[in-house]
Each structure stands twice: as structure tokens, then as C-alpha cells.
């Protein structure tokens, strides 16, 4: 690679790359994000390579291994270019057909297409699948078309043009003004206006300033930052360079969790490639601006996603938060002014520079501009990553994009904002997503986790689960978080085990106030949210657990009993044979009975009882019907 010394050279090399590419050549893009790799896309990819060779199609067909497309539920995913046929759930045995189909575009493989669940129609193109159709994939969209390991792929889609534009024609103040005008808010949790944060650092008197990418994504079920860093690392890097230029920083850090090996690999490779082209390092594109980036791998502490803990860890000390009374954009890493933004925030920056703040502010709501990537998981038909304009309603995200709740179950709540977020109930599904809207509903945007829950989910157990997670992840420095969460976890566990007492709710409220008001960092301050929001909307479930010893969702294991309905039991012996503790008494033609003394509530009988009999029931908070007298147990019907 030659080092580029002017913006003109960048444009020349871009032209060269594009001109060498044949737009009519068949290109099979295969999703190789972590989720698809887990579903077997590496085997599929290897198979495609072999097939291309075996079928003698090296000159006609190429394969491109891309980052995450988002529709993880249906991975591995293939999109054939140029006709854009989209195939889902690919298995190695489909590969040969896909390769031969690629050169003969008209022969479409029906069985691998998406089937619309409502109309039963087959959908050929990715853009017409409801999951994609209702999204606005500005930040995430390129993931599906470029190889993240190739800087040339990024250059071919106009990559680094924003850096070039900034360095050749904008002053740092111009850049700052544009970002401020765009009203971009931090995508990592707090939603702080990025431009204002940058301005504080720019105006700080210190000579040395830092820019940092927070890629320590740790929310259970959330993986949008991983997908961006794995699938389009140069876009994050480009945003970071622009930010560094705007604030006058010459050194940047990318703090990425070690549990994301592919993201670590791809961002390191991207940095090397950018350095070789002279897009990083000394005198970038001949502008006189120097900027260097290093990757730091986090050792696996959730709390290090908190900005001050992250900086402390970067300094080589124990990753514990420090007081933020002087903001880190004034006194941050090594006490120097430091701008820390999350992966997605940085990836928005090139977009804003290229298309302008006026264009950007047309998208979104009054107080939340642009798009947001959500990780849509839980009891939802289409699990995956979705990017939508701010202001789309939860209902549209869950039903139009997510395809609703599987197995005909009823929606109960959606948990947004990660473990410290809150649960939003069904009557608020028309809430538009935005930073302030979600906060007002008792939850938060967080980094974009969205966990959908159906009627079988116990909300007290949800609170217990998240408080337990946070108890485990508390750094232990301050008391309201460490000790407060420990006690909250105990009380919530007791409630879900049927040992709740009068006064528990009040005690949880006191602990919540203490943690929210007196904790050192955002982890502790927001930790009571899972309890507070479930109490706000599902207080009846708490009361049922405590007063009636009943789990209304029939979920809490310690609070339910399994019971075989004698009217429905066909004495088929299936549950009798499957019970791991031999708690079921019965024989052929003799109605089965569960010995409650022996039963461990494992639920096997409930699962194995044939649907046509539906004889095993879960009961909670009500007495068990007395067993059928021995003489009436023989089935004569």
C-alpha cells in the first residue's frame, strides 16, 4: 500500500479500486458476524470457496465474508449480488446449489427464501423482508456489503471521505459546530450531547487531550457495538479521527472487551491498514494533523463500561469508578481532558460530516436525532439487530420489524436500556423511542438493549435476575451499591422463593433510594431501575408473591406445584417414565399421580405430556386438589 499524502490521492485510489471492480460479477456475500459464525457460517464459507473452484467459476463468482447483517434469528445469511437474492438459514449442503444459482440468477432456490408468515409468500430480496423493510440502516447498513477486513471495501463505499473533507476544508471549530448542530447524543447510555462534550474538551487548557472509544459492551443480550466493530471497524475509526481533529487530540484509545475476539482482531487490522494508507499517524493526508490509536483489551468487568472506571482501567489500575464532580471531558484519562464516546456514537460522525447536520436533524424526534441500533431479543419472532429512526414506536419495532411474540403468546413487557433499564408494559407500546421518552416511562435508552417478554415471564423474577447480575458486577467500592444490591438481591430472591414478607417492598424501596441517590457511579445509581420499574407497572405481581404466595405467571419454581388432572390423564406412562426422581405413581390404564414429597418441580412431566392430553397443570397459590381415591384410578373410558 502506498501512503496517501493528499486528499486527491485518496480520491484517485478510490477511483482505482472501484474501476477494477466489475459490478456485474456475481458476488456472494455471507454474514460472518459472531452470531452467524455460531450458526455455522464458517463451514458454509469454506464450502462456497471449494464450490467456486470445483465448478470452475473463479472468474465469474466471488465470495465476500461480511459482518453481521442483523437478522441473526435466520443465520447464516447469504445475499447474492448483483440481483440481491437473499437466502436464510444456510447449511453446508445448500452451498453447491447457491454457487451454481449465482451465475444463473433466474433459478431461485425457493426453500432458502424468507417466507412471509402472514401471506405465506416467498420474498426474494432482503430489502422486502419485513424485518429489514421498516428499518433505516444508516450506520449499520454497510455491514452487509463490505468485508470488514478490507480497507479497500470501505474506500469503495466512499469511506474516509469525511476525514478527507474535514482535513482539507474544515477548521476544528467548523467540525465542532456541525456535530453540535446535529444534536448527536451519546449512544452508550447517558445520552449526553456529543458536541457539548467535545466542546468542553476542546476549550480545556491542557495541551494533551485524549479521545476514547468505549467498546466495553456488557449488557446481557446486547451486541450492537460488537456488530459494528466487527463488521465496519473503519467507520468507527473514521469518526474517532474526526473527533480527535475537532478537539485537538493526537492520541486515541479503543477500549474493547477481550470477550469480543473478532472485534479485537478486526479493529486492530483496520488500524494497521489505515496507518499504511496514511489515514492514521503523522501528517494525515498531508494536513499536518497527527493522530495515533491504540487498542486496549478489557479484562471482563461490566463496570468498566462506566466512563471513569474505564479510564482508571486504561491507566493500568483496578477498574473502579471515581467521582465525576469534575467531568472527564475536563479531567479524564491521566487527569487530561478526554472525550469518551461509545462505538455507535463515533460511527455516526462520518455520516453527519458527509451529509450535514441539516440532513441529520431531519431524522428522529425533537430531542433525539438520527437513528438507533437496538438489539431485539427475548420472546420475539425475529431476533436480531435493528436500526430505526428515533421516534419509531415500540409497537412498530416489536411487531412490524420483530414479527411479534412467538407461539401465539401475549406480550407482557419490553425491557430496554440494559440491566439498569426498566420494563415497559403493553399499554405503553405506542411510546416513541427516544432518550427522554424512555426515561419518562421509567426506563432508559441505555446502549440499546431491548428484551421482549411474554405472558409467561414473571416480572419479580426479571427484577431479581437483573439485580443479581448487577450485584455480581458491582465493583464493591461504595456501600449503597455493594451492600444495598446484596440485600436487594436477597430480598428479591426470597420473594421469588415464596419467602417474601410484609414490608419487603418498602425495604426494597428504601434500598433503592439509597443506591440511586448515594452511589458513586452510574452503575449503582441506576441499579434499582429493574425493581422500580417492575414495581411501578407490575405491583400486583409483587403482592401476589408476598401475600398469596402465588406466582401469577407460573414461573417461579419454588412457588408452583405440578398436578395431573385425573379427568385428562390417559395413563400413557410418558411422564411416569421421564420423571427423573420417580415421583409419579401410575401404570397402564391407571391415572397417574405426582408424589409432591418427591417432586423437585423440574417440569419434565409438564413438558412431555402429549399436547392432545394436556393433563399436567401448574398450580400456584392455590391448594392442590385431593388425589383421586385409589379405587377410582383405573381408566374405564
Amino acid at each position: 500500500m502506498t501512503r496517501l499524502t493528499t486528499p486527491q490521492e485518496l480520491e484517485k485510489i478510490r477511483k482505482d479500486i472501484i474501476s477494477k471492480r466489475n459490478p456485474d460479477k456475481h458476488c456472494i456475500t455471507l454474514c460472518c458476524g459472531s452470531a452467524c459464525i455460531a450458526s455455522g457460517s464458517e463451514e458454509v464459507g469454506a464450502g462456497i470457496e471449494v464450490e467456486i473452484e470445483n465448478q470452475g467459476l473463479i472468474d465469474e463468482v466471488e465470495i465476500r465474508k461480511t459482518g453481521c447483517h442483523g437478522f441473526c434469528e435466520r443465520g447464516p445469511i447469504i445475499v447474492n449480488h448483483p440481483d440481491k437474492t437473499s437466502y436464510l438459514h444456510i447449511k453446508p449442503e445448500d452451498v453447491s446449489e447457491i454457487v451454481s444459482q449465482a451465475v444463473n440468477g433466474k433459478k431461485i432456490i425457493d426453500r432458502l427464501l424468507y417466507t412471509d408468515p402472514e401471506t405465506d409468500e416467498k420474498i426474494i430480496h432482503e430489502s422486502e423482508i419485513p424485518f429489514y423493510k421498516h428499518q433505516k440502516r444508516l450506520v449499520f447498513g454497510s455491514n452487509g456489503s463490505i468485508d470488514p477486513k478490507s480497507i479497500n471495501d470501505y474506500l469503495a463505499i466512499n469511506g474516509y471521505s469525511a476525514v478527507s473533507k474535514v482535513l482539507s476544508g474544515m477548521t476544528p471549530e467548523d467540525v465542532l459546530d456541525e456535530v453540535k448542530k446535529s444534536e448527536l447524543r451519546g449512544r452508550g447510555g447517558g445520552g449526553f450531547p456529543a458536541g457539548i462534550k467535545w466542546e468542553g474538551t476542546r476549550n480545556a487548557e491542557e495541551e494533551i487531550k485524549y479521545v476514547i472509544v468505549n467498546a466495553d459492551e456488557g449488557d446481557p443480550g446486547a451486541y450492537m457495538d460488537r456488530a459494528l466493530l466487527e463488521g465496519n471497524p473503519h467507520s468507527v475509526l473514521e469518526g474517532l479521527i474526526i473527533g480527535a481533529y475537532a478537539i485537538g487530540s493526537h492520541e486515541g484509545y479503543i477500549y474493547v472487551r477481550q470477550e469480543y475476539p473478532l472485534a479485537v482482531e478486526n479493529i486492530n487490522l483496520a488500524i494497521r491498514q489505515a496507518e499504511e494508507y496514511g489515514l492514521l499517524g503523522k501528517n494525515i493526508l498531508g494536513s499536518g494533523f497527527d493522530f495515533f490509536v491504540k487498542v486496549h483489551q478489557g479484562a471482563g468487568a461490566f463496570v468498566c463500561g462506566e466512563s471513569t472506571a474505564l479510564m482508571t482501567a486504561l491507566e493500568g489500575r483496578v477498574g473502579e469508578p471515581r467521582p465525576k464532580y469534575v467531568r472527564s471531558n475536563i479531567k479524564g484519562l491521566w487527569d487530561k481532558p478526554s472525550v469518551l464516546n461509545n462505538v455507535e456514537t463515533w460511527a455516526n460522525v462520518p455520516l453527519i460530516i458527509n451529509k450535514g447536520a441539516d440532513w441529520y436533524t431531519q431524522i428522529g424526534t425533537e430531542s433525539s436525532k438520527g437513528t438507533k441500533i437496538f438489539s431485539l431479543v427475548g420472546k420475539i419472532t425475529n431476533t436480531g439487530l435493528v436500526e430505526v429512526p428515533m421516534g419509531m414506536t415500540l409497537r412498530d419495532i416489536i411487531y412490524k420489524i420483530g414479527g411479534g411474540i412467538p407461539e401465539g403468546k401475549k406480550f407482557k413487557a419490553v425491557q430496554t436500556g440494559g440491566p439498569s433499564g426498566g420494563c415497559i408494559p403493553g399499554d405503553q407500546l405506542d411510546l416513541p423511542v427516544g432518550f427522554d421518552e424512555l426515561t419518562q416511562a421509567g426506563s432508559m435508552m441505555g446502549s440499546g438493549g431491548m428484551i421482549v417478554m411474554d405472558e409467561d415471564t414473571c416480572m419479580v423474577d426479571v427484577a431479581r435476575y437483573f439485580i443479581n447480575f448487577l450485584t455480581d458486577e458491582s465493583c464493591g467500592k461504595c456501600v449503597p451499591c455493594r451492600e444495598g444490591l446484596r440485600q436487594m438481591n436477597k430480598i428479591l430472591t426470597n420473594i421469588t422463593e415464596g419467602k417474601g414478607k410484609e414490608g419487603d417492598i418498602e425495604l426494597l424501596e428504601v434500598l433503592s433510594e439509597t443506591a440511586a441517590e448515594a452511589s458513586l457511579c452510574a452503575l449503582g445509581k441506576s441499579a434499582p431501575n429493574p425493581f422500580m420499574s417492575t414495581l411501578q407497572y407490575f405491583r400486583d405481581e409483587y403482592e401476589a408473591h408476598i401475600k398469596d404466595k402465588k406466582c401469577p405467571s407460573l414461573y417461579c419454581k419454588e412457588m408452583i406445584n405440578y398436578y395431573i388432572d385425573p379427568e385428562k390423564c390417559n395413563a400413557c406412562m410418558i411422564c411416569f417414565k421421564k420423571c427423573p426422581v420417580n415421583a409419579i405413581d401410575g401404570e397402564k390404564k391407571k391415572i397417574h399421580i405426582i408424589d409432591q414429597e418427591k417432586c423437585t418441580n423440574c417440569g419434565t412431566c409438564f413438558e412431555v405430556c402429549p399436547e392432545r392430553f394436556d393433563a399436567v397443570k401448574k398450580l400456584s397459590g392455590e391448594p392442590l386438589p385431593s388425589p383421586v381415591p385409589e379405587e377410582e384410578r383405573m381408566i374405564t373410558r
Partner: protein, 204 residues
């Protein structure tokens, strides 16, 4: 040093730039409860007992006075219903670990804290970090440190250092608000510092 004028509990106070609200209050004879604070140590902000209300104009927020720097015209309140309620809860959380600590009991009485409010916890240590920070910052020895994280966090002596340094020092002992440290030390001494375990294997 520039002088900064602020108000604590209605009293006009002059403090030096860079001082904390706690230092300013103490300088003016206003008492704010503390537990993890020590004048020789860098403020830690761990126990949160010194929480106060601070603000200017119409807005005020709860801040921790041992780490909050004084500001011009800051108005500080060291007591309110909410502040006292939070302090009481914090003390009750501590008492779950060390119900018999004299220092905690004295404060518990002041704030009406109930030592039986929360389920008892096995460890006496309340993680104030005084021993750890004193050893590191004042003695510069690091013979005692924290291990693990969150609710599994514990203090632990590093045998290689402790066996050489601790016998002649023991300055951390009287700092401990729950007297757990002595127990830990004695136990560690008993288990780890025995003559056998300290023998250099290369000399055997």
C-alpha cells in the same frame, strides 16, 4: 491559594481552592459523619456517609462531601430528612456485617439505625479500605490489599511483604472500625506466616 466563600448550614465559610466540602466544614467546626475518611489519605468516597446537599441558586443535589470540591457561593446543607434517612440505611447495611462495632453503634444511635434491619452477613469487614490505603499511601508498603470484586471483595495480606513488615508496624490496627482487621491478621499470621511456610524452598 485563592479563597472561596461558601455557605454551610447557613454559616458563611471561607475555604481554600481545591479543598473539599468536608475539609471546609471540618475547618469551620461543622461535623459531618465519616467512616472511610482519614486526613492523611487521598479521599476515597466509599462509605458515602458524608453525603450532603449542595447547590447554588434553585438547584441542589446530593453529593459526597469528602470528594466534592468547594465552589464559589456553594450552599451546603449537612442534614435533611433525606440525608439522614440515607445515612441511617447505610449504617444499617454496615451493621449487618459488624453489629457490635463500637464506632458503628455510636453512629447508629445518632441516626436511629436498627442493627437487625438487614440479614446478617458473615464478614466483619465493611471495606472502608482504611488499612489498605494507609499501608499503600502512608507506609508505601502495600502489605495489605483488596482481592476480588463487589460482594466477594476482601482484604488480604500479602505474605511475602507482611511477614517482613507488619510486626514492626501494625499502624493499621487502630484504624479499623470493626476490629475485623486484627482477626484477619492474626488468622493469616497463624496460617501463612508459620516458620515452615516461609522457608525458602531453594534452601531445603
Amino acid at each position: 491559594m485563592n479563597e472561596i466563600l461558601l455557605q454551610i448550614d447557613g454559616k458563611e465559610i471561607t475555604a481554600g481552592e481545591g479543598q473539599t466540602v468536608l475539609e471546609a466544614a471540618q475547618g469551620a467546626g461543622i461535623s459531618i459523619p465519616t467512616l472511610c475518611h482519614h486526613e492523611k489519605l487521598v479521599p476515597y468516597g466509599g462509605c458515602r456517609l458524608c453525603i450532603v446537599e449542595a447547590g447554588s441558586g434553585n438547584s441542589s443535589k446530593l453529593v459526597v462531601s469528602c470528594v466534592y470540591p468547594v465552589e464559589r457561593n456553594l450552599v451546603v446543607k449537612t442534614h435533611s430528612e433525606k440525608i439522614d434517612r440515607i445515612r441511617k440505611t447505610i449504617l444499617e447495611l454496615f451493621l449487618a456485617h459488624a453489629p457490635n462495632s463500637a464506632e458503628l453503634q455510636r453512629m447508629a444511635q445518632e441516626y436511629g439505625a436498627d442493627k437487625n434491619r438487614f440479614e446478617k452477613e458473615a464478614s466483619f469487614c465493611i471495606h472502608c479500605g482504611l488499612c489498605v490505603r494507609y499501608c499503600a499511601e502512608v507506609k508505601k508498603l502495600n502489605a495489605v490489599g483488596f482481592i476480588d470484586r463487589g460482594i466477594r471483595k476482601e482484604i488480604s495480606f500479602i505474605p511475602e511483604i507482611a511477614s517482613k513488615e507488619c510486626h514492626d508496624c501494625m499502624e493499621c490496627f487502630p484504624l479499623c472500625p470493626t476490629s475485623w482487621l486484627q482477626a484477619a491478621f492474626v488468622l493469616t499470621e497463624g496460617l501463612a506466616f508459620s516458620a515452615d511456610s516461609l522457608q525458602d524452598p531453594s534452601k531445603e
